[in-house]
Symmetry: C2
Subunit: 316 residues, 2 copies
């Protein structure tokens, strides 16, 4: 939870003069998002979301991120839609940061994931994959297998030897055998429950596309298995996984090869989140504004997937 | 900036069932306020503010705080107005905390205080004092002179000897000579710029009444002199003070005795904020979610007021 960059009323007024959405009635810093500064902006026309991109977001990626949201919204995906200024631009400087206004999405993230949430998430993920297929820009996945070892190296000296050996073996394994040639396109890559809204028991929106990139669709499915199908006590819930996978397949059927590789991909995506959490755990100063997330739960997930043999272990 | 207590969608649904303001469309934790957890709540009927009272607020004070907002709103003061449930109650438990919904106030706090802000602040403060005069409940000012020494004692061992001697002398002085019998009533007691909203160059609202109490009106004026009339370089700005005092006097003229005592009260209120900041500075853990505020700027204010002779030193 954080607002890193403060916006003065005079800066906001000058910024909004470039848009056609009325004058600012209120601006509230939002206590969510760990990467950027987010504000809920109320104007005489309605509610909007204002994001100032902080140092973890490369400004060169903004045409991809914001163009993707334009592209997806035009294809009926309920995602934040960038508001373009009178000059046609979707972002411009505010308080020394690149900043963008998007539509405000209604809905609440489920705090406790239930089985009923999982099929809609699978369906929405597949819908996203199909809608993104003809998006022209490309962005490689910086947090795919090649990105994991630098994170490990950066955290290595803080890890006990047994765990380090286990992770080292995982890295060696994946660097030698990460699958190629799977059906690919734009993936969300971070579709955790805080990035999905529900309203009146229906999925009402997907947010936070700032890890979106080009990678295999099945990898994105495997991220969701890790994000949605484990209980707080770290136990795998096959009922949730089956609902999620069935939901996905109703919209975009998984190929035989995708099904076959799903346990391996899930093990890989568990390692990816384990690596970033480990790195952040070690490098987040004790007085930081953001809460550190426990890496241990992803170690448990990794071990579950390593023991899984086929997609049948995921309820399908 | 902080949200201390998370609210689940199911908890919120049950809570809102007690009210007649529609269903929740969105709930965003707000990154402001250091005492309570604040959420911007959007329902099918509009925007509201949801506050969960954290441990610094005594639940026994809630009838005073929320009753005061009802009272003031009924008298035309632009402050958050409590929404009462179907049972008539203005607060009830949510996620283990007492919680209240209020109307959402439009406006932006000035990030940089200008002279044009000061007369409206003075006028609004006087309007508040008059509107609160017939409010039936009472709440003593826990942070008046009797509350300062315990704060000092709690921070003493972290303060160098010269400063400790200076503060000790101030406490001795005020404990012996704090003025009594001034015109009194409900005061805001914390009317800093982040608690005042402006919209289209007009003062549009006052918020955060959780220090409100019964004390002398002139003391509240002196808090505003400290809050609004010093520059970031700590220099006193007599133009701002004159505008603030003239604005106040247009709505509620200050008596001769109030004018005479204003430098003393301003010195006292500078000491009050110096004491709480010093205490928080010493006791806020380094990894806290809230930013610590520098006590030094209130030492500079205290010394300014000690050197002031009459209200003429404040531009009046």
């Amino acid at each position: 939870m954080a607002v890193y960059t403060e916006v003065s009323d005079t800066e906001l007024e000058a910024f909004l003069a470039e848009y056609d959405i009325g004058d600012a009635d209120a601006l509230k810093g939002v206590a969510e998002g760990v990467e950027n500064s987010n504000y809920l902006l109320t104007t005489s026309r309605g509610q909007y979301f204002l994001t100032l991109y902080e140092k973890r977001v490369d400004p060169n990626d903004l045409p991809f991120f914001l163009g993707l949201l334009d592209h997806l919204a035009a294809r009926g995906i309920n995602c934040p839609q960038p508001i373009h200024g009178r000059d046609g631009k979707a972002y411009r400087p505010l308080a020394g940061r690149p900043a963008a206004i998007t539509t405000f999405l209604h809905g609440l993230s489920p705090r406790r994931i239930e089985v009923r949430h999982c099929a809609p998430v699978g369906e929405a993920l597949a819908g996203l994959h199909l809608a993104g297929q003809d998006f022209a820009l490309r962005r490689p996945n910086a947090l795919s297998v090649a990105g994991w070892r630098p994170l490990f190296d950066g955290a290595r000296r803080h890890i006990d030897n047994a765990l380090a050996a286990e992770l080292q073996a995982e890295l060696d394994f994946f660097e030698a055998s990460w699958p190629a040639g799977l059906p690919s396109g734009v993936i969300h890559a971070d579709l955790f429950s805080d990035n999905v809204f529900f309203l009146h028991d229906k999925l009402s929106g997907l947010i936070d596309f700032y890890f979106a990139c080009n990678d295999s669709f099945a990898y994105d499915v495997s991220v969701c298995l890790n994000a949605w199908c484990f209980e707080p006590d770290r136990a795998f819930n096959a009922t949730k996984a089956r609902a999620l996978l069935q939901g996905y397949c109703r919209v975009r059927p998984l190929s035989d090869r995708e099904r076959e590789l799903l346990p391996l991909l899930a093990r890989g995506s568990a390692l990816r989140f384990l690596m970033t959490r480990l790195y952040d755990w070690v490098h987040t100063p004790a007085d930081a504004l953001v809460k550190r997330k426990d890496p241990q739960e992803y170690l448990a997930r990794l071990r579950f997937h390593r023991a899984a043999a086929t997609i049948a272990d995921y309820g399908l």
